[in-house]
């Protein structure tokens, strides 16, 4: 069974069709690439899967369970986490607080979160993550005071913090310097080898082609191609979507 299955998903904003009848599935342990020109609906697809937007039609299944109607916090509790193309952090919290925030709702009930004070387990994980991502030096800085690249890494760390089953990365490399891109690619491959499942939206073709074994292409809200990097590379429809005729 697929881990994540998207069936005939459509999203309209008034008369504009942002997604139409998109279907795709994500297998456990996979590293799936999602590409397409600007405005092709990639982020809208992520938003519909994670409950940030409610799809107009269609279904999202996670491990066979229909999660289409869940709100974002419900999707999080199922084990799906994500990053954002436009970085979304808690600016007035420190790096460590941002990470702890990303994991605190994972376990327990509303009232146990008021009563239970011990946070050593989460803190250990957060400290390991800042070390892993090279953010140790800034772990007590406010997120607002980080450089762009550091914020991007923190966003990534927050997605990892709850130990999710699927991680949706929305342009993790955009605006990041080449050295850090290399580091991020290594991190993603590393984590994928450990069993984490990824879906990555990325404009950097070189990165996508080397990172992903399977790629889905969206254009104007529709899925126009799916296949291995080599197949996508040679697909005339994809060239057409990107460069037009």
């Amino acid at each position: 069974m697929s881990l994540l299955e998207i069936r005939q998903l459509s999203k309209n904003f008034f008369h504009l069709s942002a997604l139409s009848l998109v279907s795709l599935s994500v297998e456990p342990g996979e590293l799936l690439g999602l590409i397409g020109p600007n405005g092709s609906g990639k982020t809208t697809l992520f938003n519909c899967v994670t409950g940030v937007l409610r799809p107009s039609r269609g279904h999202v299944l996670f491990k066979g369970e229909d999660i289409t109607k869940l709100t974002a916090d419900g999707v999080y509790h199922r084990g799906i986490s994500r990053t954002f193309q436009l970085i979304q952090l808690f600016p007035e919290m420190t790096v460590l607080e941002n990470l702890l925030m990303a994991a605190q709702e994972r376990k327990g009930t509303l009232f146990s979160r008021l009563l239970r004070r011990d946070e050593t387990e989460e803190m250990d994980r957060a400290l390991n993550l800042v070390e892993y991502l090279g953010l140790s030096g800034v772990k007590d800085n406010l997120a607002a005071n980080l450089s762009y690249g550091q914020q991007k890494l923190l966003d990534f760390g927050m997605a990892l913090m709850p130990d999710p089953q699927v991680i949706l990365l929305d342009e993790p490399m955009a605006g990041v310097n080449p050295t850090m891109i290399k580091a991020l690619v290594t991190h993603i491959q590393d984590l994928n080898a450990q069993g984490y499942t990824f879906v990555v939206i990325e404009h950097n073709m070189e990165v996508v082609m080397s990172l992903c074994r399977r790629i889905v292409v969206l254009s104007q809200g529709e899925k126009i191609a799916e296949g291995t990097p080599a197949e996508i590379h040679d697909n005339p429809a994809v060239m057409d979507a990107y460069f037009g005729t």
Binding site: Y76, F90, G134, G137, P162
Partner: protein, 331 residues
């Protein structure tokens, strides 16, 4: 930093305990009123400052506590019983008013809560058989524990002080739990908060209900302080006064309500000497404070703490750490 805080708390405790012994009646009343307002400001700071949900109904919630005490104590219910009833009613109505907060935000939420305060006022004025209508309720007794009576102004001041300590401690406890962090996450980035699993419904309702419950405590203590209440004490004006305390003190800062409650309650009194000008001077002071200290009076506090600590420990900011890329390269 920690040392300064402990010192501050100790000095504050000594002043709060000993000062009333030398205060005359009116000043003692002002000190008690400041403590009551502090409790109310702490509640609103939790709802507005931490969770970012504006409420202009705080005086309405306060009235639940005040009227519960004023109505139940003459029936033989102990003061604390009346207080608990008032707090529970305020908590439950806080939950109810929290629901619109799930749908509307910012000034729309301000309008909803403003409307609620007006409705509460109208009910208090027109439900004469229960509330005494616009004549209000007079002769509200102060609490007594068997032979111990908190009848004198001084004794009642200490009684209020006891509740203030409880409120401050419990608010500190809540705000330093995962709840406090979740409240802040909603204020800072609601969408991101929901994506990291924060149930906006649960936390917004709780932020409203707990803030309102504190207003209930404040209201219950307020009624016997004046020994007389009428609906005019719980109008929108008073809600705005609490809003001013929280904003002027420093939104979302634990120290904020302390500074805000003291300044908003006592500054007009200090300016009374200027006769007819005092409202103008007070308003000007508010405008200037907001212009030069948009984060509230805590900015002065922060500035003082920075001065003190810098002198003792050298520069407060450590040198900038290396970029993470460089760190990764070095590995």
């Amino acid at each position: 930093m920690r040392g300064w805080r402990t010192l501050g708390i100790l000095v504050g405790a000594v002043v709060l305990l000993l000062f009333p012994l030398v205060l005359e009646q009116y000043k003692l009343y002002l000190a008690s009123l400041t403590l009551v307002y502090l409790i109310l400001a702490i509640g609103l700071n939790l709802t507005l400052g931490y969770a970012g949900q504006i409420s202009l109904a705080h005086a309405g919630f306060m009235s639940f506590g005040a009227y519960a005490v004023a109505i139940l104590v003459p029936l033989g219910v102990p003061f604390e019983g009346g207080l608990v009833v008032g707090v529970v009613i305020a908590f439950l109505w806080g939950l109810v008013l929290g629901f619109p907060a799930l749908k509307v935000k910012h000034h729309y939420l301000a309008m909803v809560t403003l409307g609620f305060n007006i409705i509460v006022f109208l009910v208090l004025r027109n439900w004469e058989s229960l509330t005494g209508g616009s004549f209000g309720i007079s002769g509200i007794a102060r609490p007594r524990w068997g032979p111990v009576r908190f009848q004198s102004d001084r004794a009642y001041y200490y009684y209020i002080l006891g509740w203030t300590v409880l409120v401050v401690a419990s608010a500190h406890w809540i705000l330093h739990s995962r709840w406090g962090r979740a409240f802040r996450s909603i204020r800072e980035n609601e969408m991101r908060a929901e994506v990291v699993g924060v149930s906006l419904r649960n936390y917004k309702l709780m932020a409203f209900a707990i803030g309102s419950a504190y207003a209930g405590v404040g209201g219950a203590l307020f009624a016997p302080l004046l020994t007389y209440i009428d609906p005019g004490a719980f109008t929108l004006d008073r809600s705005i006064q609490f809003l001013m305390m929280v904003v002027m003190g420093g939104l979302g800062r634990f120290e904020g309500p302390f500074l805000g409650a003291v300044v908003v309650t006592l500054l007009p009194e200090l300016l009374r000497a200027s006769e007819g000008f005092y409202l103008i001077i007070f308003s000007l002071a508010v405008i200037l404070m907001m212009l030069f200290m948009p984060k509230g009076l805590v900015e002065i506090w922060d500035w003082m703490v920075r001065k003190m600590t810098r002198r003792r420990h050298g520069p407060a900011h450590p040198p900038a750490p290396p970029e993470p890329a460089a760190v990764l390269e070095a590995k």
